[in-house]
């Protein structure tokens, strides 16, 4: 093949280097001028925002959109629970000592909840293998009167934050009991459906969306399997009536109020058994 010597590649290349750089950078600079200066300043003027603030907002240095001043809600909120899952609280949970927890359990909890978290008194929840965060939240709520119970409120108020975390860690570390195979197969299809799919027509989400065999739901959601039947019925009824109200966003109050008594009984029986 003939080789027409037009010019050397590096001579050809110089205009490419210059023009490619100029073009690409020009596009970026136009973007910066329009997006960070012109548009925010012009839009900010009609929203009563000075040019400097508008540019800082466009850059993301100050919060807020350049177009609209953000409305501010000054209504004080009334939290249903004093527990917030801050890194500090998570640190308390992470640093909890199950051995210290065991000592405390032997002292105060064992009479009703059992040494290994298997309830010895009817209508008392099983705590073996329960989520530590769930136990922590409930004890903390008893302390702050977000949830009340004749005995538990008194007991919890005598405990400190770190002790609550220790007890939670101890019970969370206990092995879960084996589900009873006799009751496992018993649940009617409608109840299984409620657990797995919920009922969209009544705006009831599936129980399993939050209450899972392990973690995965909202951090404070308790594990329900192998739970005491009467305890679950009592709690759902209290949620439905609004007597118990320490559920964040009112989730359980909303759901429980939509359940029929038969469904409440069916669900309690389902969770008595455990997971398939």
């Amino acid at each position: 093949m003939s080789e027409p010597r037009i010019s050397e590649p590096h001579v050809l290349d110089q205009p490419w280097r210059v023009w490619a750089t100029v073009t690409v950078l020009a596009i970026v600079i136009i973007g910066v001028i329009l997006g960070v200066v012109v548009i925010p300043v012009v839009q900010g003027r009609s929203a009563g925002i000075d040019a400097y603030t508008a540019i800082c907002r466009a850059l993301g240095i100050l919060p807020g959109s350049p177009a609209e001043p953000q409305p501010f809600d000054r209504t004080p909120s009334t939290p249903v629970s004093q527990v917030t899952w801050t890194p500090e609280v998570l640190q308390i949970l992470a640093r909890a000592d199950p051995e210290r927890g065991r000592a405390k359990v032997a002292e105060v909890c064992v009479a009703c909840h059992g040494e290994q978290g298997v309830a010895v008194v009817p209508e008392v929840p099983n705590l073996a293998g329960q989520s530590g965060a769930a136990i922590y939240k409930q004890l903390h709520d008893y302390r702050t009167d977000s949830r009340t119970h004749p005995q538990m409120s008194v007991i919890a108020k005598a405990l400190e934050d770190a002790q609550i975390a220790d007890v939670a860690a101890y019970y969370a570390g206990q092995p879960k009991r084996n589900p009873d195979p006799a009751t496992l197969a018993e649940s009617p299809a409608a109840i299984v459906r409620l657990v797995e799919l919920g009922d969209p027509a009544r705006n009831i989400p599936p129980c399993a969306a939050c209450h899972r065999p392990g973690a995965g739901g909202p951090i404070e959601a308790p594990i329900l399997s192998e739970q005491d039947r009467d305890y679950l019925i009592a709690q759902l009824k209290m949620y439905a009536s609004g007597e118990r109200r320490n559920d964040v966003y009112g989730r359980m109050r909303t759901i429980a109020a939509r359940l029929t008594p038969a469904e409440i009984a069916g669900l309690a029986r389902y969770y008595r058994a455990g997971f398939k």
Partner: protein, 538 residues
Amino acid sequence: MRNVERLCLAHFWVAFGAFLAAAVLGTWQMWVRSPLGADVGTPGQYFMSVTAHGVAMGYVLTTFFIMGFGYFVAVTALARPLPGKAWAWFAFWMSIVGVIMTTVPIATGSASVLFTFYPPLTGSPWFYIGLVLVVVGSWIWCVLMIVAMAAWKRENAGRPVPLAMFGTVANAIMWLWTTVGVAAELLFQVIPAALGLTQTIDVGLARTLFSWTLHAIVYFWLLPAYIAFYTMAPRAAGGRLYSDTMGRLTFILFLIYSLPVGMHHLLMDPEHGNGTKFIQVLLTAFVSAPTLLTIFTITASLEIAGRLRGGRGLFGWIAALPWDRPMVLAVGLSFVMLGFGGFGGLINMGYGMNAMIHNTSWVTAHFHLIFGGSVVIMYFAIAYEIWPRLTGRGYTSLAPLRAQLWLWFIGMMVMTLPWHWLGLQGQWRRVANFNYADPIIAGWGPWVIVSFVAGLVLLASALLFVRNLLVLHLSPQAAIARPLYALAVHPPQRVPAALNGFALWNVLVLIVMALAYGYPIAQFAIAPSPSAIVHRIE
């Protein structure tokens, strides 16, 4: 050479095996979401399926196909042995181990986090570590592609790199840039969280890093289709490539404008200023430049072929094209889907319009039409084109190949057009089921059923595709040797170094990325935002 053919076939069969499994899952998902499947499956199973479908289609099919295709191009376009063949096999097996490590937690339900990495939801650490292995395997591929091109340039000083290899290396370099974002997110944020080493995670930073990867990854998947447009389609149609320079420019423009644009996926996110979003949306608009260049150049190339075949008049050349050849047919169908999908993408890109369809079925429809449609149909065409070379066997009939391409086209159009429509009506994406008893939602039902039926058509096409390739392995007919890559109308003799390598463009990408992502990422270190609690799936 036989070893290289085995290498390519191994990659392709892993890719297409994953593709077939994912096609089954995709159809099942359509059924579950439709009124017909109201009682089928649980949300848990649905999200497990979506995760598997997305991982198989988005990461396994693409990565393995692109690696196999790259090795094929390196050997055929450069006409020299592949350097580092042992490394290529090592990368293959490492990626296979990665895929297995990823699949097991998905199958046990401990990684139903979908295929996007949006904390605080985190799955099993094995899921992420497996995907990291796949990415590292693809990095080895990138290095091998760059080494192969560099070796060729040393042996052929001053000559232009063949366009197919130039495009492949553009893609490899783009992929190296692209994966920096998600690699940083996984290694420094998500995997420590999944392992339980950290209890909180900065969600804004994670989303920003993922956006770095999120848009360019789509161009990584897309470029093989463009390589086929430029180098295979004109030859298959019996013509010549209209302009070699346009091809080089296109690949370079994709390298530059795929990266600093990812924030248009975060238009509704609060962690960035509107000015930053504006800059990246403006740069996104420039992605249309290589797309339009390509449509012009390939149409011109096909027109040359049509007129050489005796086509007359303004449109007569279109009818004169050899539409019976799978590659030509696939290019035509791909362009139609690229057109619809491209216009849909303009809506996603605009701040105001995006607000209307954000997180609706519109988005799902857009990426299925662009990727699942116009890109994957070119994967089929490429496979059909090169399979005879890999196996040494020829097709006894092209009819099943054409039927498969048509089924895929019809299925994808009929599935995604209703999704666009439903997205406009507000049908949200990534939910397991709909309450069709609700009077507002009831009207969606028929359209969802239509797209489910289209899903069945797509499944039929996927099965036919794998059947076509398997049949070829057993074909009694020997392959007819013919040139694969198109010549340009004016074959390049000398090109400027800028169009023959990537040094200049890497510097420009670095500058533009520093401008586009510098402060948006630095702000998380300057003024750390409140972190979210890691939400682990067990």
